[in-house]
């Protein structure tokens, strides 16, 4: 079974790029366009990893993390934040909200895959 990643981002471009990077690494990838859809897709798909943008309409990335983390059963699912934000303050906030890790935009395909491997223990 390949690892299933749910990527939530309001940018079509970023979604496509994430999908391609993940597909190339053999992960299966599902997409959502905003936080609300992301949480809905999460419930539907029960992915192995979630990658979420922060600035999104309807529900931002923090909202997504919060909604997923609310259920104790989801605590073992890593959530990665994909963001242009670079401030330490921001990372602290993401971490405190329950993010497992973060990836800077623009992202490097290899780095993205590496981070997923790192938080899932996948080789």
């Amino acid at each position: 079974m390949s690892i299933m990643v749910l990527a939530i981002d309001d940018s079509r471009t970023i979604r496509s790029m994430v999908r391609q990077a993940l597909a190339a690494a053999g992960f299966s990838c599902e997409l959502a366009e905003d936080g609300v859809e992301g949480v809905r897709r999460f419930e539907e798909l029960r992915p192995d990893v979630v990658i979420t943008d922060i600035n999104m309409p309807h529900m931002d990335g923090f909202g997504v993390i919060e909604a997923i983390r609310k259920d104790v059963a989801n605590r073992r699912i890593p959530i990665l934040v994909l963001t242009t934000e670079t401030a330490t303050e921001f990372k602290t906030r993401a971490r405190d909200a329950g993010a497992t890790g973060w990836i800077g935009k623009p992202f490097d395909d290899q780095a993205l895959v590496q981070v997923i491997r790192r938080v899932t223990g996948a080789s």
Partner: protein, 709 residues
């Protein structure tokens, strides 16, 4: 990478959408319906463009978007008040962002000076506020390395480096690492086992769990937060590589990293993060509370927003090629339908009414499908109109005038190709309206007008065509001046007796330009004749109505689609052809004496006291006529833009019908006097004539002989 290009295209497509929504939001803000959600939405659009642009190394764009976003962030956080002046800057910045996106798309150089000026304008808004904000954001952060937001270089966030080689320091070094996870570490779904195995990749790792209760660190189900590990790592990678392994759990555990051979066990206090107590974590959690609350509010607002009437409708993006294919197939269906109808008609199945009914339902069904397919290509003119509001601002700036654009009917849908090809003429006309239509604010005030001129841009469907009007409340045309210029340039004889409308229409003539001094804007060597030509090439017409002192109104009437055409089926010799109905005025069978030869090669038709030139289509197209030269003439009176009314001599006029336009260009090329072709009900091809081109051709070559052969 091959797919890079497609990502790039995707990015520009998306950026276009984002700019459109940005523009929309600005209008909503402008209209005074300002609320924070709009500012949020503007921020997101800019942020999103910045985020994706980074992937394509569009540095200037990213840099500008970043600064723009910073200002917007200040506004949305209520740290900066949206004064009219600031609104202006926000609006101009949106314009400049669009310019940068376009420049990036077309890979053209931008004027760095302009960007610098735009950046300076943004900085000026931050002004004294900038210092405060920078200070406050530094305060909030306990990280000394964090630069104030405003000056932060872009993407100082190190992309996670993979090249272990980079991280290697010269010689191997042993580290004692004490790792004690907090409960929060597990809550963020970190696995100590993963971290430790990742650490093991850096070198030789000895691990020891300091609770004997647990047999081995690699046991998968670690739920006891009380566990901790004492690790010894021998590695050539430096301390930074180790810290990087723990990057994500920074603050979620107690961590000490001691270089073993050092004299003193060095507590890592480099950024105060590698070692963090439980108490700190608690504080951090408390700090996190307001943002989470904020998230809740966002959700409520989002729920409210989704009920708003202008919430975007769900759409589906489809490759244009697929639509083209569908389009062609439907064209075939229509042709096939007319063939069957014609065949059934020929059979004269009067006794079989059933068949006739079926054929009729087939016809209706086929038309329905055709209309539905055409609707797919139809797009609202809104993005085009939005671009025009930018043009108005630019033009007003360039001419020291004040202008506002009012859009009406921007939801009107028109074929995508028509919209695309309308952009240039419309831009030109809008510039023209600001430049030549509107008066200076002083003149307007002196005449008791609002110093801010208004331009109304409207779109509406009217009987199978779309009508776009550009109206201004400026001075209107100075007819004496227009006539004077036209006479001076030899466009009309000095003694010409022209009606007001005719005078107004002189401005469309090639070589006419009213600007006594070419302004910055319109001095681009293009006159309104170019606009007229562009509109005509779309099968449309442009008209002008001017009222002195009150303003000028241009009206462009266009076909809804370029895919079908209403035409008059005629024949010359045994060849069938179509003349666009938009050009046809009437058919005439002239009485004896109404057509008179003029010189050796020309004939004129006398109609209602006027003389119009007669053009022999057969001669013009090089076709042998089927009808005896002595037979009564059949003339099709057509309206041409260049030569006014002309009469085309044809052999037969059949009927009026709607046909699917088929290009000749892709498999052959341009045929003089012919704009396209279509397939008739019997499968035969009929050419679609371009009356203007035919008239021009005849005129250019000198009238050809009306040869009876």
């Amino acid at each position: 990478m091959a797919s890079n290009e497609s990502f790039r295209n995707l990015f520009f497509e998306e950026a276009e959408d984002l700019l459109a929504s940005l523009s929309d939001d600005l209008v909503r803000l402008n209209a005074g319906t300002s609320d924070n959600e709009i500012v949020h939405s503007i921020f997101r659009a800019v942020h999103s463009i910045k985020g994706s642009a980074g992937a394509f190394a569009l540095d200037e764009l990213v840099g500008f978007a970043h600064r723009y976003e910073t200002v917007l962030d200040e506004v949305r956080s209520d740290r900066l008040e949206l004064t009219p002046d600031l609104f202006r800057v926000v609006q101009r910045s949106a314009d400049h962002l669009a310019v940068l996106v376009e420049a990036a798309r077309t890979e053209q150089c931008t004027d760095r000076v302009v960007t610098d000026a735009a950046l300076a304008a943004l900085d000026a808004c931050l002004g004294s506020n900038a210092a405060d904000t920078a200070a406050s954001s530094t305060e909030e952060s306990d990280a000394p390395e964090q630069a104030p937001i405003l000056d932060a270089p872009l993407f100082d966030f190190p992309a996670l480096s993979l090249d272990i080689g980079d991280l290697m320091s010269a010689s191997p070094q042993s580290y004692d690492i004490c790792f004690r996870p907090h409960p929060a570490l597990y809550e963020n779904s970190h696995e100590p086992a993963f971290l430790i195995s990742h650490l093991a990749e850096l070198g030789t790792l000895e691990a020891e769990v300091d609770l004997s209760a647990l047999p081995h660190w690699s046991a998968p189900e670690i739920v006891q937060p009380a566990l901790s590990w004492n690790l010894r790592l021998a590695t050539e990678a430096g301390r930074e590589a180790i810290e990087e392994v723990f990057e994500f759990v920074d603050g979620l555990c107690d961590l000490t990293i001691d270089a073993k051979d050092d004299d003193m066990p060095e507590q890592n206090t480099q950024d105060g993060a590698a070692s963090m107590s439980m108490a700190d974590t608690t504080t951090a959690l408390l700090d996190a509370a307001p943002p989470l609350l904020q998230a809740d509010i966002d959700m409520t607002e989002a729920a409210a927003a989704s009920k708003m009437p202008d919430a975007p409708r769900p759409t589906l993006r489809v490759d244009l090629d697929r639509i083209e294919r569908l389009f062609n197939a439907v064209g075939e269906l229509i042709i096939n339908q007319s063939m069957i109808a014609q065949r059934v008609d020929d059979l004269q199945l009067t006794h079989d009414a059933d068949m006739t009914v079926h054929v009729e339902s087939y016809r209706l069904l086929a038309r329905d499908i055709q209309e539905a397919v055409m609707a797919i290509r139809a797009q609202p003119v809104k993005p085009l109109f939005q671009r025009m509001s930018r043009i108005v601002r630019e033009a007003a700036d360039g001419t020291d005038k004040q202008a506002q654009l009012v859009m009406i009917g921007e939801g009107t849908e028109v074929d995508k190709t028509v919209i695309e090809r309308l952009a240039d003429p419309l831009t030109h006309m809008i510039r023209n309206s600001v430049d030549h239509g509107l008066e200076t604010p002083e003149m307007r005030s002196a005449n008791g007008k609002d110093p801010v001129g208004t331009i109304w841009l409207s779109a509406a469907h009217r009987s199978g065509s779309v009508v776009i009007t550009i109206r201004d409340d400026g001075a209107g045309l100075d007819r004496d001046k227009v006539l004077g210029v036209a006479v001076k340039k030899g466009l009309v004889p000095a003694d010409a007796d022209l009606s007001e409308t005719e005078i107004d229409n002189l401005i469309f003539l090639p070589g006419f330009s009213t600007a006594s001094a070419t302004s910055l804007l319109s001095g681009r060597g293009v006159g309104l004749d170019v606009v007229r030509t562009a509109v005509q090439s779309l099968g449309g017409r442009v008209n002008i109505v001017s009222r002195p002192g009150k303003g000028t109104e241009f009206t462009i009437a266009l076909p809804l689609t370029l895919a079908v055409l209403d035409g008059m089926l005629i024949s010359v010799g045994n060849i069938s052809m179509l003349v666009p109905i938009s050009a046809v005025l009437e058919t005439i069978r002239p009485m004896a004496g109404e057509v008179q030869p003029v010189g050796p090669n020309e004939q004129l038709l006398s109609i209602r006291g006027r003389f119009v030139p007669v053009i022999d289509l057969a001669a013009n197209l090089g076709i042998a006529r089927a009808i005896d030269a002595d037979a009564p003439m059949l003339l099709l009176l057509v309206e041409t833009e260049a030569r006014g009314t002309c009469a085309l001599l044809v052999d037969r006029v059949h009927d009026q019908r709607q046909v699917v336009i088929k290009g000749l260009e892709s498999n052959y090329g341009h045929v003089p006097g012919v704009s396209a072709a279509t397939v008739l009900g019997d499968g035969q091809i009929a050419l679609i004539l371009d009356p203007d081109a035919i008239v021009e051709q005849t005129h250019g070559a000198g009238q050809r002989a009306v040869s009876p052969t």
